[in-house]
Amino acid sequence: MPTMNTAQRRIRAGALLLAAVLVWPPAGASAQDILSSQLRQGFGKNKVRYKDFDWHFVESEHLLLHYEPEFEDLADRAVDYLEEAYVHISALMRHELSTKPPIVIFKSHYEFQQTNIIQAFLPPGVAGFAEPLRYRMVIPFNGDLDDFRNVLTHELMHIFQYDIVNRGPVRRISNPIARPPTWIMEGLAEYSTEEMNTIDEMVLRDAVLTDRLIPLEVMDSSWNYLPNPFLAYKQSHSLMEYLAANFGPEKVSRILRVWDQQTDTDRLLERLIDMDMSTLDERWQAHMRKRYWPLLQHRDYVSEFATRVVDNDEIHGLYMSPEWSLGGDMLAVLSTDGVEQHVDIIRVSNGRRVQRVTTGMRTRVFDDLTFGDGTVAWAPDGSTIALVGKDGPKDAIVLWDLYEKKLVNTLSFDDIEIVEGLDWAPDSRRLAFVGTGYGQSDIYMVDVATEQVRQLTGTSRREDHPDFHPDGRRLAFSAKVEGQFDIRVFDLDTGRQSTLVATPGDDLWPEWTPEGDRVLFVSTREGINDLFLQDLGDGREYRLTRTLSGIMNPSLSPDGQQLVLNTYYHSRREMYRMDMPTMPELRRRSDELAARVGAEPVAAAEATAAGGEDPAGQDPILLVEKGAADSAAAGLADATRLGLEEAVAILDRKADSNQAMKLAEATGGGAGPVAAGEGGPSPAGALEDMGDALRRDTARLPGVPESALEGLPRRRYTPKLEFDGVALQMGYYSGFLAGVAQLSMSDLLGNHDLTLFTDYVGSQEINNDFTFAAGYSYHGRRPTYSAMVFNWNQYFNDNEGRGPFGGYYGIGARLTRGLVRSRQTGVLADMSYPLDVYRRIELSYSFVDEQREIAWPVQEPIDGSSTHLFKAAYVHDSLNIGLLGPTAGRRYYLSAGRTLALREVDRNFTHVEVDYRHYLRLGRWSVLGLRGTGIGSLGRDGLEYNLGGPAWFLPFYPGYNLNVGPLRGYAFSKFTGTRVALVNGEIRVPFIRNITFGWPGTFAIPAVDGAIFADLGSAWNKDQTLDPWPLQSPHAEIDPAAAEEVRIQGGVGFGLLVYFLAPLNFEFARRTDFKDISGWHMHFSFGRSF
């Protein structure tokens, strides 16, 4: 998704233009190039800076952490986690960082999306990133501290990797993108975090059991085009565990150093473990099969006891978070086909769509649908569906009336940025949800009529999946206690909590039965998500499933007779429906499933370590740390990994007896299952809060002592420009050796960008003039600003022949053409104000003064002019863009510019331009693209634009930025005029998606499309008229009076669009003037289709 800030785009476009003009100086290049660059409008979505951040930073022993004071507690935790991770990774990799990495944390993903450190759009799936040049890490908090810790550790490992691979400042600058294969980088980073959770295992297990593992050679060569990147991460993680378990953890430590000497992956592995890539892959796959295939004997496929709801084999089809209708005939689900995301109502019986809820809501009601766990809820009275959409800087709950089929209200809340886990109360007035804001997530309840909000919980632990009891006075939810989720009950009358289910694993997704005397839930106690039912009457627990794949998002029908659930099968999330067994049947089934326990071959939770042969190698993380056991800090790091009880012991040893005592009290009060009703006004919640606080204290200990943490220096952030990179371009043109140097700098947060250019022209005939350009852009506020000043000289041969000897000058006995110098001096200033993600207003002012003279062999002025240009534009862009071009949506702009002629020699013209593009989906990937555009550069000195050929031929090709668009069948820039009109229609259909070739080498082509198209357009000048009617009689006489009449030109044809590293377009077109039609012409071009 193109999200480059407008101001930054301007600077870069201007810089490229200047560089291009110098290195490939086309004859006649002039100030017009710069002006047209300012006038031609760009598309792209906006990175909206909704918030004025107040950045501070704290410096600890190994890092600099940037945060805002409003979430200072979270920052303290982050420092703890990072220092602990540093110790762990440093020991693992046997390396100390050469510098303190600057780390930036945000309190939510939506604030993270506003970072300027990276210009690309950061979709919800991105948990953080680290960049190799300046070692910056940027991480948002997602509501779960354990996840937060894992992401911090993962990204810190990347910083270690960069530091190992790019040792020293020279290699950091010269070699920032030379990286080992991604599976090694990501595998190591995953390996450095905690072990896989049950969802990770679910994905990996499914790939093994359904024979869908990604071959290592494909991961090695085509990581960026893998259809299932999540699986690739998990495979890489597992491969690292396998290496550590079977060849020793020191191999993991060495892998990057070996890569430094040998970058070919096969040779790297041979050098490291005496095994090539295919052998490693074969052995690892054999190991995985041995691990998971025995499960087939004792576990069931979900399809053995449930029916698939949606019969859809498309890998991109996804249906999740099912919610039952009142009558039980329908489900509301989140759905995606890989292009768009929606809330749909589907039939339970056959999975077919009955109604699309979110039609037209994107851009009008919200920026994007929030596609998360429990972000759809159907009210018990059946009349209202609640869903969540990101509206501006935070989520809003959207209420959609099923009776009226329309939106009735949107609810957003102060300080709550992310909303998920929706659940309606039985009265259909109150709505419970999980809200994340100011650095923690809690459960809230809102009255949708009065919009009054009540916060139900208030701890830093993660809470999730609220579910109202049928009496509407209690709420069950999952709460993370001591690193594991238990099911707790919140009494809305008294405000007290009690524990309902607490098993050794995570207990998730509670669902009350309609009678309210039983709770259905998912337990991960054996490492695989299975369904259980807790009977509150007899206190017994019943097992409903023992599945191979695992279960997510169970949802009971209103009558309690049926259940829909998600599972992971064939590398995608599937939705199944099953009948709820009657109690006698449930007892029989539970006993039968329980009887299989003794025969369970592998408890997957225990099998997360890859090796079976070497028990000592099962937890290489601890093994490494225990190797450095003399260090108290390392010992404490072990302690926090081992859990609270062990932490108590260690604290005890540390003579912190008071704290240990408190901790023991807290764990004693909060742990263990408490039957419903026993909880009453128990202090469990308060004790757990205390435990929570103490855990935080405990977590502080490993890396930095508490006192040291509190004493760490904290200061307000002040921007300081640092070096970003340098680019050099060299070219040779007609006797000149020319080069451009570009130096880029920015501050740590990316709010200030400064770019400097200068050039060198090597020639015997002329002295090099001082040439420079300096661009600055600022993105720290919602409106963005940019400015550039330049004094640029360019040279070209005097093709007009101004010399005294037939246009030539005499030098001795030799005649030669003169050299023309064009000196352009000026200022470009832009301001862009994003109204939202899709719309913005742009204003700009440009001043360009151009003076041309014969520079050699004599010095004679030729001419000169100045231009003051003001421009305003409105831009709308809500496209979905695929690899080869837009797939849905529309984009358009209107722009108008006017010069201010202060002198007679100043340029004088008015510019108007409109461009409208609409893309209609004809199938999952097929699209009909329609475009209409018109440009008028009116007045005495109107600029001339070009028309003809493909849309984007080659960068820096003469006139490339003046070419309006594709008029295929004609030579590039065949037509020229101050007025241009163009209409395009194109149907693109998919031919191939994701094809991998094994020879020569392993490479992937992710997409090949076919296209048919028709173009109509014309370019004409002020003294010409356009005949808008294209058809003409073949026998018509040419009227001399109509010689200045310009006709519409047409082109039709077909094309093959191939994505291979970049979009490559092979187009075949016939041109027509509607009298004759030509033969076929072929065009080749780069870039996405219009």
């Binding site: 009558g327 005939d329 998919p990």
Partner: protein
């Protein structure tokens, strides 16, 4: 991985178009986008073409509230209220229209009609009717429309439960009772259906479609093989018009 089916269909269409640009291809007859009751065709799953008479409901217009006095209406049928908890296993599966004649167990002769309620009961109901707020009436109308939307799509259980819920709020809406009767009939609960038709007919004695539905039900019970789809759905034309934007949205609350 090969892309979606519809994309490939489109790809093939494009290739066919390109290859046979000058060839006249016979087009298959277009499938009507008009709903079955409007087109006079079969409902989904029905075997016989039924006469559409729903336009009469529009011609007749809403019943004036005064007709209630002459209706001799009884209280909301207790069977309907009980049906909230009654199993519906005898009916067709949710989302599926029944095909062919109704199963034998629902072909039993209908029991005799029950006597009309006392004048006091009628009076009390009338007071309740008159005390309905505009919001109540509008809500009932919306539920009715939603039920019709469900019926269009064969979502019988969904329609039934919403109508029952609406009747719990407004038990004197003739159209709600008529449409609930249709659903009961569709679900094989003919006794409940008859009670609902009768109640609707008493509430609005001038509305012939309720009598017609009752007549159809009786004939279906008497003669095996008479499909149940010849019933009249009340309110459907108005709902359609509202969707088309040709009817006043909320000016005239639904008839009593």
């Amino acid at each position: 991985m090969i892309s979606g089916t519809s994309d490939w269909k489109l790809s093939l269409c494009l290739l066919a178009l390109a290859a046979a640009a000058c060839t006249q291809v016979a087009r298959p007859p277009r499938q009507s986008a008009v709903p079955w009751w409007e087109a006079g065709g079969n409902p989904p799953g029905a075997e016989e073409v039924q006469q559409d008479t729903s336009a009469r409901a529009v011609a007749e217009g809403p019943e004036p509230p005064d007709s209630l006095a002459a209706a001799g209406a009884e209280a909301h049928p207790p069977e309907a209220a009980e049906s909230l908890d009654s199993p519906t296993a005898a009916g067709p599966a949710a989302g599926q229209a029944p095909a062919g004649p109704a199963p034998p167990e629902v072909e039993a002769a209908l029991p005799p009609e029950r006597p009309a309620p006392s004048p006091e009961v009628v009076k009390a109901q009338r007071r309740a009717y008159e005390s309905r707020t505009r919001e109540d009436r509008e809500r009932v109308e919306r539920v009715n429309e939603y039920a019709l939307w469900c019926i269009e799509r064969g979502l019988w259980e969904e329609a039934r439960i919403h109508l029952e819920q609406a009747i719990a709020v407004d038990s004197l809406s003739a159209s709600l009772h008529n449409n609930l009767g249709i659903l009961y009939e569709r679900l094989g609960e003919r006794e409940k259906a008859r009670a609902e038709y009768e109640f609707a007919a008493r509430l609005a004695p001038g509305k012939r479609l309720y009598q017609a539905n009752l007549g159809h039900l009786r004939r279906a019970a008497e003669a095996r093989g008479v499909p149940a789809d010849s019933v009249e759905i009340d309110g459907l034309p108005r709902a359609r018009e509202r969707r088309r934007g040709t009817a006043p949205a909320r000016e005239t609350p639904e008839e009593g």
